[in-house]
């Protein structure tokens, strides 16, 4: 049984090391989130500053992902995948939010790789799992639904229409996928709900004549 004992010890040590890195990664993600949350309180024009600060934080996140890859043999990726799933979904969401705030575009896999230093090629030893990426996008639309109401409250009446178009595009993309996975399907339903909510805001503005013709 000595050999087992040894395997056991290696195993524990690895999990401990992974735990250490993901803990810091979670902390970094939370810091980034706190920064990006401020977007709810500022005008769109002032978001640039927030985005700049947000982008900076990705340096640390990139390093942590690099470090994570040194804690275990990469062929065991999916053995430990559960340990960083949650935080990676969160990082995907935050990257997507950042990119949207910066440019109004959808996060591409290339940009995600640029920000985190991790590939999205599913056959790479260490990569970002597709499902985690998609779940991150679901969180994005949820946050954008909140942003839509808040920017109306803050007096910014031109954004809702743009957000609405953006989320409709994401929704269309999702509909193509054959979602077996339960948690993803559930989140897709909530994406649908978010889209309707944003459409509702656009409607509220339209009917009151608060949308400029040129925005349409």
């Amino acid at each position: 049984f000595d050999w087992f004992q040894e395997v056991n010890t290696t195993e524990s040590a690895r999990r401990e090391a992974i735990r250490e890195v993901t803990k810091v990664l979670e902390q970094e993600a939370r810091n980034l989130e706190t920064i990006l949350q401020q977007a709810h309180q500022v005008k769109e024009s002032e978001a640039g500053d927030i985005c700049a600060k947000g982008r900076e934080r990705f340096t640390a996140i990139k390093e942590l992902y690099a470090k994570l890859q040194t804690t275990f043999p990469l062929e065991l990726y999916y053995k430990y995948h559960g340990c960083w799933r949650n935080v990676t979904q969160n990082v995907c969401f935050l990257a997507a939010l950042l990119v949207y705030l910066e440019s109004g575009d959808l996060l591409t896999t290339d940009t995600l790789t640029e920000l985190t230093g991790v590939s999205m090629q599913q056959d790479e030893p260490f990569h970002i799992d597709l499902e985690d990426f998609l779940l991150g996008l679901c969180s994005l639309s949820n946050e954008l639904a909140r942003l839509t109401t808040n920017c109306v409250t803050a007096g910014d009446l031109s954004r809702p229409l743009r957000i609405s178009k953006f989320v409709a595009d994401v929704h269309n993309g999702f509909r193509m996928l054959n979602l077996k996975n339960d948690s993803l399907r559930k989140r897709f339903d909530s994406l649908k709900y978010d889209m309707k909510k944003i459409e509702g805001v656009v409607y509220d503005l339209s009917i009151r004549g608060l949308i400029k013709e040129e925005d349409k």
Binding site: R30, N31, E33, T34, T149, V152, T153, V201
Partner: protein, 250 residues
């Protein structure tokens, strides 16, 4: 039949408290009995006090929920303060029970009451000063002098946060309820909740309990944001050609 070796010992422990207990083992267990029963009884007494605190705290919250315009605030707070006096008396009884015992040992017995009290106290504090009650202030309120001993009903961070999470639920009700009647409260409660939420979000996934509370807060916050949105959207509309009249109306 083959095992009657201990019949003798049986007979004299039938009523344990009355007769002399010979063997040291039985003596030890008899002491245990006293100790365990004491614990159970104290637990029961604390549960009862805690239930009373819960009821009274809930009623304080209902009083404060009656707020509409700014002018009634003082009167409502005065009413609440009177009731807080009664709650304080109940906490004194708890402190009396806890003399010489760890509050954490009995926390389960009285934490529902404690949480409801924190909810009520923080709501009153918010309405009074528009600030979040501090844990140390609560702690000071819950420190008693019992016959010369200082007894603290220690407030756990998690109990405090539970109270704050519940507070945002009540703030949500106030936000919705005073909308269109009170000029500033709806907006203020919404921003206040947003700040608490953003600050606490930094600690998410540290603690599973906290995450659940954040979820509750997030829901309340969204409802408040939605309500503020409705108010603003509606206010934005000034029908063409009736601008003059609308201004008159205000």
């Amino acid at each position: 039949k083959h095992n009657n070796s201990n019949k003798d010992t049986n007979t004299n422990n039938n009523n344990t408290n009355m007769c002399v207990i010979s063997s040291p083992i039985l003596k030890f267990f008899s002491d245990c009995e006293t100790c365990l029963t004491g614990k159970q009884d104290r637990h029961e007494r604390l549960v009862k006090i805690s239930r009373d605190i819960t009821v009274k705290s809930k009623r304080i919250i209902f009083i404060l929920q009656r707020i509409q315009g700014a002018e009634e605030l003082d009167q409502l707070l005065a009413e609440a303060d009177e009731k807080f006096g009664e709650v304080r008396a109940l906490f004194t009884s708890i402190a009396r029970e806890l003399v010489g015992h760890s509050p954490f040992l009995y926390l389960r017995a009285f934490s529902p009451g404690l949480q409801e009290y924190i909810e009520a106290q923080s709501l009153a504090e918010y309405l009074r000063t528009k600030t979040l009650v501090k844990l140390e202030d609560l702690q000071r309120e819950l420190t008693f002098d019992i016959d010369g001993t200082e007894v603290s009903i220690l407030v756990d961070e998690m109990d405090y946060l539970q109270g704050i999470a519940d507070l945002t639920g009540e703030l949500m009700r106030i936000c919705i309820g005073t909308m269109g009647k009170h000029d500033t409260l709806p907006g203020e409660t919404c921003s206040f909740t947003r700040e608490i939420y953003r600050d606490l979000k930094r600690f998410s996934s540290i603690n599973r309990g906290l995450d659940r509370k954040l979820q509750v807060m997030s829901n309340s916050l969204r409802k408040m944001e939605q309500a503020c949105y409705t108010l603003v959207v509606r206010g934005q509309e000034i029908p063409a050609g009736q601008l003059g009249e609308a201004v008159d109306d205000e």
